[in-house]
Structures are given as C-alpha cells and as structure tokens.
Symmetry: C2
Subunit: 280 residues, 2 copies
C-alpha cells in the first residue's frame, strides 16, 4: 500500500505530467476555437453574409472591429489584407443580411470576444509549453522544435517511457491507425511519419523523400530523448548537425535521381527500415 | 436572380435564424465546458488529486477558490457541500499530489477562469434564448418551456418549417437515429420522444406512461407552433390546461392499472399511434 502510494507520488512529481497537460490543453483549445468559430460564422452570417475570412481568429477579430452599416475599410484591410477587404466593402453595399438590433448584435459579438480570449490563452499556453519543453527535454526541443517534443512526450505519457522507444516507433507515434492497418494487411504501406510530420523539413519536402527524412529525424529524436531522460548531457548541437547533413545528402540523391528521370515527386519512398537501426 | 436574392433576404430577416443560432451556440458552449473541464481535472489532479466535484463548474470554482497548502474549509463547504468538503480536507492532509510552483499553478488556474467565463456566457445565452423564444413562439414557449421550443425550432431550422410538421414528427424530433432504426427493422420499437423528453412531465414520469405523455405534449406543441407561425393568437392557456388534464388522466389510468397489477413501472408503453391523430 505504502509502496504503491509512493509510486503514484513519484509519477505526479515528475514535471512531464505538466508538459503533457499543457499540450493537451492547447489541443483542446484549438478544437474549441474551431467549433465556436464555425458557430460565429453561422450566427454573424445572418447579419453580414458577405464577410469571409480564411481563419476563424481573423473572422472573430473582424466581427469585433467593424460595423456593416459604417464600414471602416482601413481597419478591415489591416485584418484581412487589401484584396479581401475591398471585395467585402464592394459586396456590402448591397448586403443580403438582415438588420439586427444592437442587443442581438451584442450577443453575437460576445461570442467573438470569447474566441479572442481563447486564442490569447492558446498563445500563452504555447509559450509555457515551449518553456517546459526546453526545461525537461532540451535536446529534443532543439532537434525537433519544442512543440513536436511536447507532443511526443504527451502522446506516450512521460519522457521516461518515450526514451525507451525505438526510433521506428517514435517515427510513427500519432499515426497508430495507419500503422495497425498496415500490420493487419501487409499490402497497405506503413505510415512514414506521425507527429513528426509537423517538422518543416518533412512537411515542406517533396513526397518522395519525406519517409527518408522522417527516419533520419526519428533517429536523432530517439537519441535526444535518451540523453534528456538519462544522461542529461547537451548533445543537441551534434544531433542537429548530423540531421542537417543527412537531409542535405537525401536531397542531393533525390535531385540526382530526378535529373535521371528516375523518380516523380509523387513517388512514395520505400517502406521504413526495421527498427533496430538506431546507430547514427 | 433577383427573386432568389429576395428569398435569401427573407430567410435571413426572419428572427428564428437568431433563435436557432443562439440555441446551437449554447449547445456548443456545453460541449466546450465539458471538454475543458475534463482537461482541468487531469491537470489540477497533478497538484491535488484528492479534489473531486460532481460538476465541472463546481470543480473550476473550487480550483480558483482554494489552495491545497492552506485549505479554507468554510469556502470549500460553500461550493461543494458539507460532506464532500470535510472528506477532501481530511484526505488533503496526506495528499499524493506534487508540489507545483506558483507559475505552474497559475497556468492551470487560467484554465479554470476560462471555464467560469464560458459558463457565465452560457447563462447569458440561456436568458437571451428564453427572451427570443417568448417573442417568436410564445405559445410553444408557454406549453413546452422556452428551451424545448428553441431546440425544436433550431432543429428543423425555422418556425415556418416546424409549423407544417405533424405532431408525430415533432414527438420524435431529435431521435432520428432511433426512428430510422425502427423504419429499417420493424422489430425494433419506434422512439417515444426526442427533444421533448427534456420536459419534466415526461422525464420525471414512470417509463410506462412516458410515451403517452409525449404524444399528448407533441399534439399541443404542434397546435402551438401553428398558432405561433400563422394566426399569432395566444392559445397557450387552453393548450396548457388540456395538456395537464390529459396528463392527470394518463396518470390516473396508470395508477388503476398498477393497483390491478397489470403494469410494472418498467413496462414500455405501446407504440405511438399513426400521425393523423392531430385533433385534441
């Protein structure tokens, strides 16, 4: 009884619980902002159906800043950019929207205010998440960026658990659905990347090399996690350099193959190698 | 082109769009409060796992009001009641939670503050919804309560559309899944109530009579919707009296049958009658 109590205390005391909490909280806020943003578009659309914005945040900002009856084009341009603003101003001259009383509009605007508050909180959590990530897993945060590091830790629950995973598992964390589909039916190719796809070196690269870069990044993150959890040494500079060298090499090979006409940018990379290749 | 433009304007001008928007907004806020409330329980649980509350709102209030290191039992009793508060105070003496810095706690408390803000907005929307319902569909709001009236209108999209539905459709609005299951396979009994289940006369009655009371309420709501949409006369007093008489009659029959041992409280009511019985 006492022993199990101590185990619980130990687990709660480790600060990666906080990292995981704030990461999930930020994700929940994203969901909420989307949900309430759609509701606001529906609602405000009764009054001003011509107003459109690409992001929910910008839409909410515009709702608070402008008034259909008395449009301030300068303010609208600041928020939505020149082109969108002048389109909206032109269309608003013959708006199809209903006239609403000040009271009805106020209720609708209070929703926009809520969305802005949630977005501010989201930004605050992001800063806090970054701070915690740099404190708890500095190597991972340096190599993959604090957000990816935080998401990986939050996905498996703790840094200690992440540090004993092989690189091949880290590579596909967050893509479990695709992974199990592949394990059930080997004709379906395995996923090439999970959470780490958000890394700009992967998401901004041509499809054909993403798998290779994902493997390289997962290798480095795996070593970084072990250093963060056990040795606490700072090896991030080495890891970063190795990763960048490997990326350059992959891209050079890709360019050579493309010059010979051997790959199309859409060709999938070969399936990931077995997970034992941890040495860099 | 001009005609269709006018139709759109007509639709937007009708104020039931607002009723429908605010009803959906209130539902979205409920979802959000639940989602963020669960997140808060996870997060604050790292610090104070012994704190528990039945409602997410009370939990958030407690998080903001108390401090584990220096518990104010009086304040906790105000929020959670005598028994829960003294339990928590007793357990907190040997709390398993981790020590958190003021900064870490602040981030967590900001989530609780957000939940309180959302709940306040929810309450405001409820008042506004009631006001709109009493303005737009006074008969329905009187007979079924403003919240049920608002939900029915929001579910079909407009009062005009609701007013042409038969009573049997109003009875099962919101229970579409169960209805279509029944239509596909007649061995599955039809649903007895959808949105109107929230009416206290139905939800607080024994299971065996709920179907009958739901049919009676749907009949009255159907007439009320027609009056609200077309004649604009106030017939709510008559409808209310009829409904209460019918409820009393149903309950009296039920009590007689129970005295003879013919029904158990759990026996399902017979399936709803065909939808043509609209006359009261």
């Amino acid at each position: 009884m006492k022993r199990s109590k101590e185990t619980v205390m130990q687990a709660l005391r480790s600060r990666d619980m906080l990292l995981s909490s704030v990461t999930k909280a930020a994700e929940d806020l994203d969901k909420t902002i989307n949900l309430l943003g759609e509701r606001l578009e529906d609602w405000y659309g009764v009054y001003f159906p011509e107003l459109r914005a690409e992001e929910k945040m910008k839409y909410a900002e515009a709702v608070l800043a402008i008034d259909r009856e008395n449009l301030d084009e300068g303010r609208l341009t600041e928020i939505l950019g020149q082109k969108a603003a002048s389109d909206i101003v032109a269309q608003s001259k013959s708006s199809l929207g209903a006239k609403l009383s000040a009271k009805d509009l106020d209720q609708c605007r209070s929703m926009a205010r809520t969305i802005m508050t949630l977005a501010a909180q989201r930004a605050e959590y992001e800063a806090y998440q970054k701070e915690l990530a740099l404190e708890l897993c500095p190597n991972m945060a340096e190599v993959g960026g604090p957000e990816i590091a935080a998401k990986l830790v939050s996905h498996v629950g703790s840094l200690a658990r992440l540090a004993i995973l092989p690189a091949s598992a880290i590579q596909v964390l967050g893509a479990e659905k695709a992974l199990f589909k592949h394990l059930k039916n080997r004709n379906i190719p395995p996923p090439k990347h999970g959470i780490i796809f958000q890394h700009v070196k992967i998401s901004a690269s041509p499809k054909a090399v993403r798998g290779k870069i994902a493997r390289a990044l997962a290798n480095k993150l795996c070593l970084a996690a072990k250093a963060d959890a056990f040795s606490k040494r700072d090896i991030s500079a080495d890891l970063k350099k190795d990763f960048e060298d490997r990326c350059a090499q992959i891209m050079a090979e890709y360019e050579r193959a493309k010059a010979k006409g051997k790959v199309s940018p859409e060709m999938p990379a070969p399936a990931a190698q077995p997970s034992t290749r941890l040495n860099r």
